[in-house]
């Protein structure tokens, strides 16, 4: 797609371009919606995936960066920048009708920056309380605790929402309600055993049938992106371990790669191999936990313990090398923090040896059980088009037969040299998602088997400057985490702390399809669907 500039100029003459890591298109706000429609629908452009939506505050203006990917054109990525000069009354047209994934993303941007999206169906805050004062990621945010004390009273008017529409050239706010008056709303969460953390689903039911699911998030929103802006680059690393704690290594790998890319560092081969091995071990551990939790949510408690039994072996490997069972803090800028434990190779070989028989045991006790199959097959159908539109990556997307493995599409580290299959299943249901995970364990084992005898000697990290300062610019890096494509966006103004960091977490998109998948199914299926999508709440809330 070398001629992309001409194509874009043709459909949107007002666009200007900036070269960088990937092409950045500046579009005036008034042309944005029309341009977005062309980007999505024009067969020659065909940007069908909205990979990331990054809200920005450039002090003199606010705006949004859209990272778009075209699956049909070699997974090329472009960035579209839309700027609002008027900081206090910023409006941008919503693209949530083109890319459904933008629905929650735009709500997040509204929450953080106060940018209102015209024609967005449900312009509520996403993470913060609805009586929160101010928008925390704006550079002029007033962090005085008197404005936002710890409130111990309940949020009122939870049902109120609004839409901004254009009428006769003016923007009008139209109030609305989330649920109708006759809806019987059951509150699932935030403290609920099967929401995998503190997620809250307000569910309208008719008897046992789910009518609508309203996702209320933010019960573990810790404001990591804002915290990062005050810290130096080595200091922000540890947050990645605490977002999706089941993809700690991959997330940290991603952030390190993003910083290394900006600094132009070459990571030693030994460190690369160690990182990939740790990533795959983490993936195994994550999928084992997912297997256990799916089984337990469905009521098969014994299977949960089997999954955890093997997970302990992986944790042992981590503990010996990294010093911790969880939150390992192992990757650092330029390599890894410590060398492998002498037992590493032996332990990994042991794991490789026993896993096939254990996987068979899992299938015997759970996957092939008639009741389990009845509960999983055909439940929570997510067609491929929807998976792409909602940007459902990872095992859940591959369960809908969408080939979206970042290790293949945007190869990084030493993955291009490795032989492994991208597991795809075409059931589009919970069972496919579950089985993709089980088969990915096999693939991860095969990657480990390829590497375990070929760990090269050498340095475990390269030389890095004492004080890490990134040159001014912006970088976006993606990796395949356990639950899908994890992205890190860094914008630097040349200082030792970042100007803006955005984490594009896979689970954020996963929770977006809950309404689509659950509507029309039973209450029990809501639990099944949640378990098979396997989201991690701290990753959503950040």
């Amino acid at each position: 797609m070398s001629d992309i500039k001409e194509k874009i100029s043709k459909v949107c003459p007002s666009a200007t371009f900036e070269e960088g890591e990937n092409l950045l298109v500046n579009v005036p706000e008034k042309d944005w919606y029309g341009f977005a429609k062309k980007l999505k629908e024009d067969r020659e452009l065909d940007f069908d995936v909205l990979s990331a939506v990054v809200g920005m505050d450039w002090k003199d203006s606010v705006g949004v960066l859209y990272y778009l990917t075209s699956t049909s054109h070699n997974w090329d990525m472009i960035t579209v920048k839309v700027v609002c000069e008027n900081r206090d009354d910023a409006y941008i047209h919503s693209v949530s009708d083109l890319w459904k994934v933008a629905n929650f993303q735009e709500r997040e941007v509204y929450d953080f920056f106060g940018i209102k999206f015209i024609n967005h169906p449900d312009m509520r805050r996403f993470f913060l309380r609805n009586d929160w004062v101010g928008h925390p990621l704006r550079k002029d945010y007033d962090a005085d605790p008197k404005l936002n004390p710890i409130r111990l009273d309940d949020e009122i008017n939870e049902d109120d929402t609004c839409t901004y529409v254009e009428e006769n050239g003016e923007i009008v706010k139209k109030p609305g309600k989330v649920f109708g008056e006759n809806d019987y709303v059951v509150n699932i969460g935030p403290q609920h055993p099967s929401t995998h953390g503190v997620m809250r689903f307000r569910t309208a039911v008719d008897g046992e049938e789910v009518k609508k699911v309203d996702v209320v998030s933010g019960y573990i929103h810790r404001g990591i992106e804002k915290l990062c802006e005050d810290l130096t680059y080595p200091q922000i690393l540890h947050f990645t371990d605490r977002m999706d704690y089941m993809s700690a290594h991959q997330n940290r790998h991603c952030l390190c790669m993003c910083i290394e890319k900006a600094l132009g560092l070459e990571v030693p081969r030994r460190a690369q191999v160690i990182r990939v091995m740790m990533d795959e071990l983490m993936r195994i551990s994550s999928h084992l936990l997912s297997f256990g939790c799916t089984a337990m949510d469905l009521g098969a408690t014994t299977a949960f313990f089997y999954g955890f039994r093997e997970r302990e072996l992986v944790l042992d490997i981590f503990e010996k090398t990294c010093g911790a069972r969880m939150s390992m803090n192992y990757n650092v800028i330029g390599g890894v923090i410590a060398d492998l434990h002498p037992d590493f190779v032996k332990d990994v070989k042991h794991l490789i040896e026993i896993m096939p028989s254990r996987l068979k045991e899992y299938h015997d006790v759970f996957s092939n059980n008639l009741i389990a199959k009845n509960r999983l097959v055909g439940v929570g159908i997510l067609p491929k088009e929807d998976a792409i539109n909602y940007d459902i990556t990872g095992p859940s997307g591959r369960g809908s037969h969408w080939s979206c493995d970042c290790r293949k599409k945007h190869p990084y580290s030493i993955y291009p040299e490795l032989k492994f299959e991208e597991v795809l299943m075409d059931g589009c249901d919970s069972y496919s998602r579950y089985m993709v995970r089980m088969k990915e364990i096999e693939q991860s084992i095969s990657i480990l088997a390829q590497l375990v005898d070929n760990i090269p000697e050498g340095d475990i990290r390269c030389q890095v400057p004492k004080i890490i300062k990134l040159p001014a610019g912006r970088w976006y890096q993606q990796v395949e985490a356990s639950r899908g494509t994890f992205g890190v966006y860094i914008e630097s103004d040349g200082n030792k702390n970042p100007f803006r960091v955005h984490f594009q977490s896979p689970c954020f998109n996963l929770v977006g399809v809950m309404d689509l998948c659950c509507t029309g199914n039973m209450i029990a299926d809501l639990i099944t669907i949640g378990a098979a999508l396997d989201f991690v709440i701290p990753d959503i809330d950040r």
Partner: protein
């Protein structure tokens, strides 16, 4: 850990001293012992985890650590039937009222364990705009377990300290604990705009 180290807990020693100073008669004392034995050995947790620590808590229940050995395994999903809340993970502003309500829903006697750096003090997120810096700003905490996340062994240690604490409690007469809790709630009223 040696037995002496395990028993080394100044806080509980002080509590015992205070209690002994007031004295109790033999009959009531024996009843207290029996009740406390029952309470201490039957601590049912409320399934409540917000982040990483919850996964370690699951490991605590799984085969290698097996908290069932001590009778901790009957995790109740309904707060009415639970005995203690183990706050596993960060508590943020949006969660705070829910947390408080959960605590109120638990039937007496109830205990709170702050598990992990975030619940103890806010941990790595202390400076954030919406993190409660330690769950003790909204709930009376009995035991703190530091760590990020604490290892299952650390959680066992914390749970056993809670058992020790329960064993020196008074059911009849001199309800020292209850007074302290009431005092706490007087200091942390549930009014609009309250600052932790």
């Amino acid at each position: 850990m040696t037995r002496e180290d395990f028993k080394d807990n100044e806080y509980i020693d002080k509590l015992v001293e205070e209690l002994n100073a007031t004295g109790a008669n033999v009959m009531v004392g024996k009843m207290d012992d029996l009740i406390n034995w029952g309470r201490a050995n039957s601590l049912w947790p409320l399934c409540f985890g917000t982040s990483c620590c919850a996964i370690e808590f699951m490991s605590l229940g799984a085969a290698r650590y097996d908290m069932a050995r001590f009778g901790f395994e009957v995790a109740r999903n309904s707060p009415r039937q639970a005995d203690y809340i183990m706050v596993q993970g960060t508590i943020v502003h949006r969660m705070a009222p829910v947390m408080r309500r959960l605590y109120e829903q638990v039937a007496e006697p109830k205990y709170v364990i702050a598990c992990g750096g975030c619940a103890v003090s806010g941990g790595p997120f202390k400076k954030s705009y919406c993190v409660v810096n330690g769950v003790d700003e909204i709930l009376p905490v009995d035991v703190y377990i530091p760590g990020c996340p604490p290892r299952p062994e650390a959680m066992f240690y914390g749970l056993m300290q809670l058992q020790r604490k329960i064993k020196v409690e008074r059911f009849f007469g001199g309800a020292n604990r209850k007074e302290k809790i009431e005092e706490f709630f007087k200091e942390h009223p549930e009014e609009k705009g309250h600052i932790g």
